[in-house]
Symmetry: C2
Subunit: 138 residues, 2 copies
């Protein structure tokens, strides 16, 4: 818990109890979490607080937003070395159609794409859908 506190401080975030709990919760999950997931996990807290906490985390490069195509935005902790606050880390995301979880495949970077003349790429988002390793081993 002390580690979390210093982690947040290093990122320029005041480590309140709420923020540390949310950070801890997300660190324990191996899949990306939606606002409603956190809402359910922290019924004592208000939706807005969770919402703004995520926004703060995102601004400071603690989490990154994932649009996995389900219609709800997900959030996942950034990898230790990532400079999400400066430049997007272009790893791909995997959404399992069975368990409905979305996970970061941080080792798998989005390949370079050749665009037609005149097109300038600034960012990219790749989501692969299918069956994850947990669900495929039955």
């Amino acid at each position: 818990m002390k580690e979390i506190e210093s982690t947040l401080q290093n990122k320029g975030i005041r480590p309140t109890a709420m923020r540390m709990l949310i950070y801890k919760f997300m660190a324990e999950k191996n899949s990306a979490q939606g606002l409603s997931d956190l809402e359910l996990a922290f019924t004592k807290a208000d939706r807005t607080t969770v919402y703004r906490t995520l926004k703060t985390f995102e601004e400071k490069g603690v989490v990154h937003q994932i649009d996995d195509g389900t219609g709800v935005l997900k959030y996942a902790l950034c990898e230790p070395g990532c400079r999400c606050d400066i430049e997007r880390d272009l790893h791909l995301h995997f959404h399992c159609n069975a368990c409905d979880k979305t996970i970061c495949l941080t080792e798998h970077k989005i390949p370079h794409i050749n665009l037609p003349d005149g097109f300038i790429a600034e960012d990219a988002n790749l989501v692969v859908k299918g069956i994850c390793d947990s669900c495929s081993t039955y």
Copy 2:
């Protein structure tokens, strides 16, 4: 207009006036359209009608849905030869941060991705964001 009529019929869609107008509208655009875009273009018609028309088009493989990360679903006509109704056409989509348009780069297929053991890919979505050719030529 006669062409549109037979196109729809070939896809198993009854060619009503509304449907032909919507098809025509989308065919004239080179960018993907959201529900609200069509809503604005057809103020005489009801939102629900446009919505259900798109759903019908999608089911029958006339249009495909695009999640470009803006939070609103877009639709674009499928290419002549595409078998969207059977198997997804994995071309990539480009979203322009300047003009906010989303277009299909049908020539650019999503490259094959090597996934970790146990992961099975069924579908993929790749959206590149940046500046489109129209906006970059100033």
